[in-house]
């Protein structure tokens, strides 16, 4: 594999990793695979698009590119606001759909099926509002910089890698050092005991939804900036997200990020060595292989 393929894989992988953190957190706390997570990612991308467009039209200066990057201040501001709105969207979906099902003690398969329904609804709403035409945050062209060893990357790509790295460190510190992180680990191990110990489990569940959705939004903005914004973008990323969260070990934030990078690099290598049409098969092969060989993932504990 040449260094350029590796770099491109890492860049795509950082996006997958951010999304996979949300999947792994909701899975470890709520104990079901949320198939709507990819659509939170797409919603995040579109919300940031709408907000940055509005900001740009209100104050033209905000749309002017910052330094070497292709976008103006309107995008980072919009990304932060969109992250908060995507968190709100996840809380709304939970209040309307998953919350009532949990109170009825529905089986896991019911929750999974409900998440499929939520995914379809969220995606169709995006198509209804924005059509299926692809959008971009910016029309600016960027020249890739030479990085040595034959590697080239645009400033946008390098920034996205950096942002992803910072977010992963922050989430990891939140989980391992803070009071809410300790509560999240407790609920993930034993929700009934957590209640007995004095943890408000419903508050922890809301925190996990908000955190997972905000990270999904950031992954969506990165995907939109580096590729394009389409209603299907979340669906296309779903398989890599699940492959990464299972490969990393359910509940492990560093695991999800590392596995995201592995899946990204594996996909880039597949495209380079086998052919672009095999990209989607790559995540699927990884998923099947982990489930057969090491179902607890890289950092997971065997049950």
């Amino acid at each position: 594999m040449n260094p350029q393929t590796l770099l491109e894989g890492l860049i795509a992988g950082s996006m997958i990793g951010l999304g996979a953190i949300g999947v792994t957190l909701t899975y470890s706390i709520l104990r079901f695979a949320n198939f709507a997570h990819g659509d939170f990612l797409a919603w995040g991308a579109y919300l940031a698009l709408a907000i940055s467009g509005t900001l740009g039209s209100l104050a033209g200066g905000l749309a002017a590119p910052i330094g070497p990057f292709s976008f103006g201040w309107s995008l980072p501001i919009a990304a932060v606001l969109a992250a908060a709105l995507t968190a709100g969207l996840a809380l709304l979906v939970d209040a309307l759909l998953f919350g009532p099902l949990r109170r009825r003690r529905s089986a896991v398969i019911i929750l999974v099926m409900a998440s499929f329904g939520a995914a379809l609804t969220l995606r169709s709403l995006l198509e209804l509002v924005f059509t299926s035409k692809p959008f971009y945050y910016t029309q600016e062209l960027q020249i890739a910089m030479k990085l040595g060893s034959g590697m080239r990357a645009t400033p946008d790509q390098l920034l996205c890698l950096g942002v992803a790295a910072v977010l992963v460190v922050l989430v990891h510190l939140l989980l391992t050092r803070s009071a809410i992180g300790r509560e999240m680990r407790a609920v993930s191990e034993n929700p009934a005991l957590a209640g007995v110990v004095g943890v408000d489990v419903r508050r922890v569940v809301r925190t996990v939804w908000a955190l997972g959705a905000a990270l999904a939004c950031m992954a969506g903005v990165i995907a939109g900036l580096l590729v394009q914004i389409r209603p299907q973008m979340g669906l296309d990323l779903l398989l890599p997200l699940f492959a990464a969260s299972i490969l990393g070990g359910i509940g492990s934030v560093p695991g999800a990020m590392l596995a995201g990078l592995i899946v990204g690099v594996a996909e880039a290598a597949t495209v380079a060595l086998v052919g672009a049409e095999w990209r989607a098969a790559c995540a699927f092969v990884i998923l099947v292989a982990i489930l057969l060989l090491r179902p607890q993932g890289l950092f997971g504990r065997p049950d």
């Binding site: 300790r182 034993n190 005991l193």
Partner: protein, 243 residues
């Protein structure tokens, strides 16, 4: 005097149409160690879980120091001063000893937390010796002590333990019971569910016998220990209530 903990006509069970606890009136006196005995399936565990907020209450009330807490979720009952130690999986195995205690201390006001944890470490030197160890790596007896220490962090007015001797070696059971006795003598009202009748009667003030979801007998532990009817009721040889 108002009992510290009281249930009135308590009916509870996991399923809405299946009552396991069928009308229990129980008044726990301040400072006592009350033992709950009964044959398997009598509803001892369900009763204490319903009091702690882990099993739905169908009818009746639970009061703590006169305040009704029947419908409060488990995490709020802790704030009222009710501490519960479940029978199994009563510590967070993946968390360190320190994190188990800190998690419990989060219920307290911030300035009190460090002091309470230090006090518990002074009481349980075995735990203080290895605060960073994962609770899952502890021996059965140490785990049980961590579970008790965790429950005591909040300085509860009532400590409820569901069969703390399960799975422990006989020698360790003696140590655990001595610990519980000392904690009770230090002023913590205690409700103890046990199958280990003889050892438990030795440390209890009063004992209640639960049969088929109702209290069949309640009296001083000392007289109960020598009463032949107890064996009969406890073993459930004869149906306690004519249906």
């Amino acid at each position: 005097m108002t009992p510290v903990l009281a249930t009135e006509a308590l009916v509870a069970g996991y399923e809405p149409d299946l009552a396991i606890v069928r009308g229990v009136d129980l008044a726990v006196r301040s400072g006592e160690l009350l033992l709950l005995l009964g044959p398997n399936g009598a509803g001892k565990s369900t009763l204490v879980k319903a009091i702690a907020g882990l099993v739905p209450v169908h009818e009746g009330t639970v009061r703590l120091a006169g305040v009704e807490i029947t419908a409060a979720p488990a995490h709020e009952k802790v704030r009222h001063g009710l501490a519960f130690v479940p029978q199994t999986e009563n510590v967070f195995a993946t968390l360190s000893i320190e994190d188990n205690l800190r998690l419990a201390a989060q219920v307290l006001a911030k300035p009190r937390r460090a002091g309470r944890i230090a006090a518990l470490y002074a009481m349980f030197p075995d735990l203080a010796a290895r605060p960073a160890s994962r609770a899952g790596a502890l021996s059965g007896g140490q785990r049980q002590m961590l579970a008790v220490a965790r429950a005591l962090v909040v300085e509860p007015s009532v400590l409820i333990l569901d069969e703390p001797s399960v799975g422990l070696a006989p020698k360790i059971v003696g140590e655990v019971f001595e610990r519980l006795r000392a904690i009770n003598r230090a002023g913590v009202t205690t409700v103890l569910v046990e199958q280990n009748v003889r050892a438990a009667l030795a440390i209890a003030d009063r004992a209640a016998i639960l049969v088929e979801g109702r209290i069949a007998h309640l009296g001083p532990a000392a007289t109960l220990a020598g009463d032949p009817i107890v064996a009969e009721l406890y073993l459930g040889a004869r149906r306690a209530t004519a249906q």
